[in-house]
Structure formats: C-alpha cells, structure tokens
Symmetry: C2
Subunit: 555 residues, 2 copies
C-alpha cells in the first residue's frame, strides 16, 4: 500500500478563471486510476483569439491515458465546467456523472454533437456515492448561482478529498439547496485529507450576500416602473430569473423570455423538477397584444454579447419588441472583466433611446455566486482539512487563498495547470509537471493555441496584408511585371502614388537586377520579394505588412 | 446685432470620453468667427481598430472653414485634449493658446512633428484675457489631475460662456491651483449664458475626494514595505507622482523614474515652475548600487500598456531592475474600461514573481480627477447659468447630467458630436447637423474610420485569408492548375487532406468546366473563384475566409 498515492493534476482552471478540468488519481506511480472533474470552456476575445469559437483545455495528457480513466464528474452546469464535454467526448469516451439538472444539460449537449446521451449517468446527491476503481465519489449539494451545484466528496485509501466546485455559503438561495453546515460537519467528521477549493472571490473582504436579499429591491424597482420593463442575467441563474419573473408578475406584467439560452435553461429546470412555481410566460408574438406597461422581458446577453437578445434590443427591434423613452432596463448581473466596453456600448444605445438603465452599482440588484474571503475561511474552519489546494482562480487568487489557509496553520500551495501534486502526505507535494495548453475550436476544426494560426490572424489585423505575384518563364526570367494586391492597408502614402504601384515598381527594379541564381532559388527569391514589399510599405505608409508571395514558374 | 448668434458645435468628445474638440462661433449665420477648444486623441483597441496608432476627430468641417478660425485653445495637457494638435496642424494653421505648462507640452509635440513651436502662444491665467475676433477668452484655473488645467471664460456679445474643461472641486490638489469658489463667484457675477460642463463622473453619487487625502496612506504603505517598492500612475498626474516620490523619500528610498513619459512630464513640470521640491531622482544604472530595500520605482503603464515600464517589469527585467518575492507594487490609478484584462494580466505576472500588488480597491491610494454628481450640482449652484450643456461624456453621462440640471430648473440638452447648437436664447437650440467622424493615424498615414481599411483587417482576423492564383494563357485557357495559399487558417479539415489541396482541386474542377465567356469576364471569374474557395473552406473547416484572387493573363 505504501507505494500507492493520491494525485491531483489541474489541466485547466488553475491559474485562470475558465475551462475547468481537474484530474485525480490513485494507485502506484504512473498506474494511478484516474477520474476527471469538470470539462469546461473559456471564451475567446479579439485581443488574443480573434475568430476562435471556443477555448478548451488541451487534454492530450489524459487522452494518452484514457485506459486509466474511470469517469468524468461534472460539478454543475456552467459552461466553464460542462462546455467541452461534447467537443472532447470522442477521445474521452467514459461515462459522465452529474446530478439530474446538470445531467439534463449534458445530455442536450451530447445529443447536439451526435453522441449518445446515455453516456451521461444521473447520480443522486450525497450520501449516495458512486464507486469508480479505487474511488468512491459523492456529490454533496452546494449553493451557487445555478441549481444543483455539487461539491465532490472523493474517498480513496489515501483519505477524503473535498473538491468544492463553485460555491457560496448561502442559507437561502431561493432555488436549489441551501448551504448545509451540519451535513458538511458530518462529511468532515472522519477527517479531510485535502480541501480543493474555489478561489474566485478571495479578494472580497466582506461575507457574501444571499440570493434572498434580492426579491425585495427588485420587486420595488419594477413596481415603480412606468413603461415596458426588461432585465438581463445569466440564463443559468435560475433563481434570479425566477426572482425577476416573480417581481414582474407582482407588478401586473406578463413575462416574455427572450433568447434561446433563457428558454432552454428554464425548460431544463422545470423538466428536472428543480424549478417550480415559475410565472406563466407568453411568446413575443402574443406580447404584441399586451399594453407595454404590462410587459416584462427577461433577456440573454448580460455580458454585452453582440448577438444576444439584450444587444439586439439595444440596437432596435427584437422579435417585434422594442424599448422606448421611459422604459426600464435592469442589468441584474456583474460585468466580467474584458466585457466592460460591450456592456457600456449597450447602455449608451439604450440611453440614446431614452431607456433608463439600472445596473448593480447600488449593490441592490445582484449578488455573486462565489464565496468571499471570510466565507472561504469559514469553510476551512468547518472542514478542518489537513491541506487546502486553491483552485478556480487566476494566479493572484490562488496565492491569496493559499495565504489565508497558511495563516491558519493549514498546509497549502499555489498549484497551477500542469503541476502534478501528491496529496498523500501532510502537505501538497509537487511530483511532476505535465505540458498543458489550450485547444481552440474554430469553425469545425480543433487546433492548438501554439499552432501559429491565430498569431497569423493577429498579425494581419495589426499590419494588413499584401499579396505579391510574380511569374517566371521557362528560363526563370520574369514574365511581365510583378503584381500586388493589398488588404487592410491605406491605398496611398507619402509619395501620393498608389501604394501597390510603388511596391510593384520597387519589386520590378529588384527583379530586373536579380541574377539567375536568385531567381532560381525559391526560398531566397520569396524572402527578397517579401523584404522589398515590406520596405516599400514602410517608406510609403509607415507599416510593415504581412506578405504572401506567389511565384509561378512556367517550366 | 439681432441676426448674429453664438454657436456651439462639438466635433469630438460629446457622446464619448476621448478626442475632445469643441467649436464655438459668433456672428451672422454661416459667417460666424470660430474658435476651437481642445484637439485631442482617443486610443485604439483590438476589437474595433486593430493596428491603428491613434484616433482623432474628423476635422473636415473646420478645415473647410479655416479662414474663419481665430485660434485653438487647449484647456490642459491630457492626450484626449492636446494629443492631435501636431497631427492636425498642417490643415489648421492658427495660433494655439495655452497656459505655460500645457504650452510647454504643446511645443514639444509641435517640434517633434516638425512644426514651428512658436505657433503655441502662452497665456496667463484669468483675469488675463485674449481677444480673438468677437471673442474675449480667459483661462480660469481649475483643479484636475494635471497641473494648470483651465476652464475657459468665453465672452462675446451674446454673453458669457464657461467651458469647464476637465475639473474637480479640490480645495487642496497639492500641485496646481485649488478650486477657488470666490473667483468663480466673481466670474459668475455678470451672469452666465451657458455652462458647458465635464460629465465624466456624473454617476458617482458622493462628493469627490481631494488629492490631499492620499499622502498619508501612501506614506504608511511604503513605510511598512520590506523589499523594493514600485508604483504606477498617469505620468501627467504630477501631484500624484510627487506624493509617491515623497512617500518613498520618507521611507529612506532613492527614487527612480521609469518610462519616457514619466521623465518628460516631470521635466516639463519643473521647467515651467509648476513643480517644486520634487525629491532627487537617480538613474536606473545608479540604482544598481543601491540596496533594493532603499529603492522606489515610479513607472509608466498604469493601464497595462504592453510596452510601458510596468508591463516590462511584470514580464522580467527593465533597464536592469527586477521585482522579486516580497516586493511591493502599487497601482495608484483606476483602470479605464477596456483595459481590465491587460492590467489583470500584469497583476498575475507579479503574483507569479511573488510581488505583492496593491490597487485602488480599498479607496486609499487613488482619487479621481473629475467632479462627481454632487460636485456638478455645486458648480451649477455657484455659477447659476441660464443653460447647462453637458460635454466630455458618453451619451449616458450627458443624459444624466442634463437631468441634474433640469431638475434644478436650468435649461439643458443632450448634445452629441455634430449637433450645432445656438446658445443665444434661453435654452440650447439645435440649428444644424454636421457630419463628424473619426480619423485614424495608422503608421504615417491618416484615413477615415469608414474607409473600409480597418474593416478588412478585422475580417482577416476573424475569418483568415486565402490567396488564389490562376494563370490564363493567350487564349484565356487555364495554364497549369490554380494555386492557393492560406494565412490564419487550419491546414487540415474534415477530409483529412490539406485544405489548400482541397481548394485547389475544387477550383480546378470549376476552371475545367468554365466556358470561354466566364474565363474572359474578369469580374465574373474572380467572383466565382472567390465563391468556390470560400465554399471549400466552409465544408472543410467550417469557416468562410477572406479571399484575394489573382488572375494573371498571358495575352
């Protein structure tokens, strides 16, 4: 037994907020039986990943060891925990375990991607457990901003690990189970070897606030509204959507759900029995018969996503509905860093329409789904783990969380993606280092972040692009003059002649002077043509563009 | 006289925060004599303006009326107020008026661009005035986050207009003049026709805080620091830089200024007598002889700019200096919306080095340079203008500011770029509409935002690029096979063959079938080749790339 060990290896989510994927293993070194916890995505942006559709963790390490993989557990239905399962399933074909609501969402994803939804196994909450190789895994209810979030209680011969998933200590989350200190005290009773713990809000120094604080101010806000009312939040925050709908209903308004994700999420919540007592909704078409002061829209796109319902309403009509002077729009949400400009743009568009926008700056209309600093300490105190391994955070979050734990005398370590840790002893111990990275889904293709494809796109965006075409005859002599085409570049520069003409002239000069040796050397010729085109552009317009050189030879 | 009028026309800065440019005119309609207040820039981003160096207001309207332009007044030295003067000077060659410190900065810009710095005229503060055509213009000191900010007192036969520039009501800004209610009461005594007023912080509901609140907590923070200390703020916030340096000095540290803007700004402030008693600084080279616990770096790049000193320190060494475990880095600044990801990236890089980062979230280490909502109301009350015209704000800010004024019974209007207002009567009145826009500086070339150049770059970034080359012989028959080259696209797609080969094959199939009519029709042929290349890419990799088609004809 002494040669067996318990390992923890984050492949995503440690050192970033997004694309969670955590491996646990138990057994002799390099023969550990493995389970994967979560398999999420992160979202691209124009700065670093233009044109990319989704970003997923690079699962190469696990794919190469799929014969040792017992199963995948999904803690909850947020995209950064569940979003990659269908995209990765063909190379990680093991059962996927989740609680009913999360399993419902997982099955929809599997079906859409053409995988058998029966690969998703519904598990019941703790104290029910699933045995997988050396592991016994239970899913213990945690309060979060989506129903049925679960922390994993992972037992092995090396002891009990609690993997929190995302959580907050909410005694009354309105939908889903409250945080239950008694259950957790019981779970902790045999002793916790390691607490692997959400770090998102570690820098918030006040205790977190309950979802139950929101219905009163939101109801009051809507009660005083005169025209049409609309509100946005994450569709997956089913409790919030219910609060918004109930507040609308109390104000005598018919509820319209706008955006596919909003309708699907509420559908899944009702189907699985998570959500009851949701006000009756009407379709956008039927809304046209209802006076606008009796309407309440609940929309997708709280992060300013250009194609979502909120952005479309800000631009103009959406499914026949339009906001006007004197209407009210509520952002019952926090803007995720990076999305500020998009959200502000929408607020200004609403302002131009005369719509009054209310956001979360007052603190009245939104609460976070994650445990704050003091809440994390409370959980440390409740579970009294031998060690705390911070996860679900950027480096700064993990570091701060490790400090909190260490300040209490609990062993801790900053563990980022690719660090394989041995959790068997008294403190987390580095036992290896694994190559990790990001896999991009781009159209229908997946490739690695370091493949250079996105780098080329960014270069074209920053520098513009020139195509240079040269034709050489059977003797490798230039046939006609070189030809240039530009994209994303100014047409005229310092000499007031067309940029392409200046480049063509410079390239032609070079070709006239070039010797047979250069003209016959494919690589050298391309390199020189590229250099000259860039030089011409630099002197004409002060930019060095990306260049595609096409040399056609008649021989 | 009754046919003469006072007009106000924002060409930049109204409906946005950035690139300020406001025209005032007085005289008979279409014969008004004009002055321009401020000529600033705004900064590009990857989302909307990749590769662009600077964004300036489109000054076409004013250029066409430059014979009526009497002069340009610059309220203060921030880039969004002064940044475009040298870039635009060749087509707006009139004297530029500013107070000494601002004039010093303006002359540096003029010199660098090869313009005569003597075109910048230094003016003294109110009650000194400059007569320009029908206008008498005084520059009245205002407190702001840069020395010598000035509000303009613009007198004409239509009465007195106060154009605030950027300001806050700071009784003790440490460097530069305090806000002086008595002076302003005197200025207001004859009656104010219109107050054209900064709106940036209108949504902040508490009174603004004074710069003088910062030295104590900053001094305390540095006094307790153990290793090297570094801090960043806007270089132009000379008072803050002084506070940081003084706090460092008190803690027994030698001061190193890092970043060109930082050194230049302090130089200009000392040169013009604005700044005195600044601690002695040492060069980065001399710093190597000083123990690290006796060093304090003050760096550029508080907004996460990739090439600035802060970002370089976060990545590694900068000019021989390096931050390490246990060092302290202070962001004495607020992150401007859109810059969050860059700043957070730097904080995480510092975290990886073990550097403790302190930011403004505690409220102790930064105050804003703009008047908050209650401060704006206080200025309304003090000046008692006939009308308030909100400026320097996004639409939402202007609208909220107009509401504040109207709630007090003061006439107001939301005026955005291009709206020409008649300020002669009892309320702002729309009297015309002017085409406005943005001019991009890109390398050494200027062009319009709507010229399509940047649009093409964004498309290449999102969709990738394909070059298609086809050669036709003297009879317009294909000579050899088509040739494709890709940039920013996956090399292999669904059929597992190289994408370029699939495209070349599809294009070849088309050329074999194409009739002479198609092959001879330049436009049609290109269009078809583009369509087929996009179709191949769509079916192979699920993307429709940008395509450059080069058809070479041998005839």
């Amino acid at each position: 037994m002494s040669s067996e060990r318990l390992i923890y290896l984050p492949l995503g989510g440690a050192g970033e907020i997004g694309m969670n994927a955590y491996v646990y293993g138990y057994g002799p070194q390099d023969k550990e039986r493995l389970i994967l916890v979560d398999l999420g995505v992160t979202f691209p942006d124009m700065d670093t990943t233009p044109g990319v559709d989704l970003i997923m963790p690079d699962m190469t390490w696990l794919k190469e060891r799929v014969d040792r993989l017992e199963g995948i557990f999904i803690t909850h239905g947020h995209e950064d925990h569940i979003g990659a399962i269908a995209h990765m399933y063909s190379s990680l074909s093991v059962p996927i375990y989740a609680r009913p609501f999360t399993a419902n969402l997982a099955r929809r994803k599997m079906e859409e991607a053409g995988h058998d939804p029966a690969n998703v196994v519904t598990v019941e909450a703790w104290p029910e457990v699933t045995r997988l190789g050396p592991f016994t895994v239970g899913v213990a209810p945690m309060s979060h901003s989506i129903p049925e979030s679960g922390a994993l209680v992972i037992d092995s011969p090396a002891g009990r690990v609690v993997h929190t998933g995302d959580f907050k200590l909410d005694p009354n989350p309105l939908v889903g189970e409250p945080f239950d200190p008694e259950m957790w005290a019981q779970i902790a009773a045999p002793g916790i070897q390691a607490l692997v713990c959400d770090s998102t809000n570690v820098f918030s120094t006040h205790p977190g606030r309950s979802e139950s604080e929101l219905p009163e101010p939101i109801t009051e806000l809507f009660a005083n509204a005169k025209g049409m009312v609309a509100a946005t939040t994450f569709a997956s925050n089913v409790a919030r959507v219910k609060t918004l709908a109930k507040a609308g209903e109390k104000a005598g308004r018919s509820i319209v759900l706008l955006g596919r994700a909003m309708r699907r999420m509420i559908e899944a919540a009702v189907e699985t029995g998570v959500l009851s007592d949701f006000p009756k909704t009407i379709s956008p078409e039927d809304a046209s018969d209802v006076p606008r002061e009796n309407l309440m829209l609940i929309t997708t796109g709280s992060q300013g996503e250009r194609r979502a319902a909120t952005a479309q309403l800000a631009r103009g009509k959406y499914r026949g509905l339009e906001l006007k002077e004197g209407d009210l729009f509520l952002f019952s949400s926090k803007t995720i860093p990076g999305n500020e400009k998009g959200v502000i743009h929408i607020i200004n568009q609403f302002s131009e329409k005369g719509v009054d926008v209310v956001d979360d700056s007052s603190g009245l209309y939104h609460v976070s789904g994650h445990a704050n600093g003091p809440d994390l300490e409370a959980l440390h105190d409740l579970l009294k783990p031998k060690m705390v391994v911070p996860m679900h955070g950027e480096h700064r979050h993990l570091r701060q969380h490790a400090r909190l734990a260490e300040a209490k005398g609990i062993a801790s370590a900053v563990v980022v993606n690719g660090m394989m840790m041995d959790l068997t002893g008294d403190a987390p111990k580095v036992t290896g280092c694994v190559d990790t990275g990001r896999t991009y889904l781009d159209g229908t293709v997946k490739y690695g972040a370091l493949d250079g494809i996105v780098r080329d796109r960014i270069r074209m965006a920053l520098n513009g692009h020139v195509t240079v075409t040269v034709i050489l005859d059977e003797e490798d002599e230039p046939l006609g003059e070189p030809w240039c085409d530009i994209k994303g570049l100014a047409e005229t520069g310092s000499s007031n002649a067309a940029l392409v003409e200046v480049m063509e002239e410079d390239l032609n000069q070079f070709l006239m002077r070039a010797g047979a040796k250069t003209l016959r050397n494919e690589e050298k010729l391309e390199q020189e043509l590229r250099r000259i085109a860039r030089q011409s552009a630099q002197s004409e317009i002060g930019k060095k563009p990306e260049v595609t050189v096409v040399v056609s030879r008649m021989r």
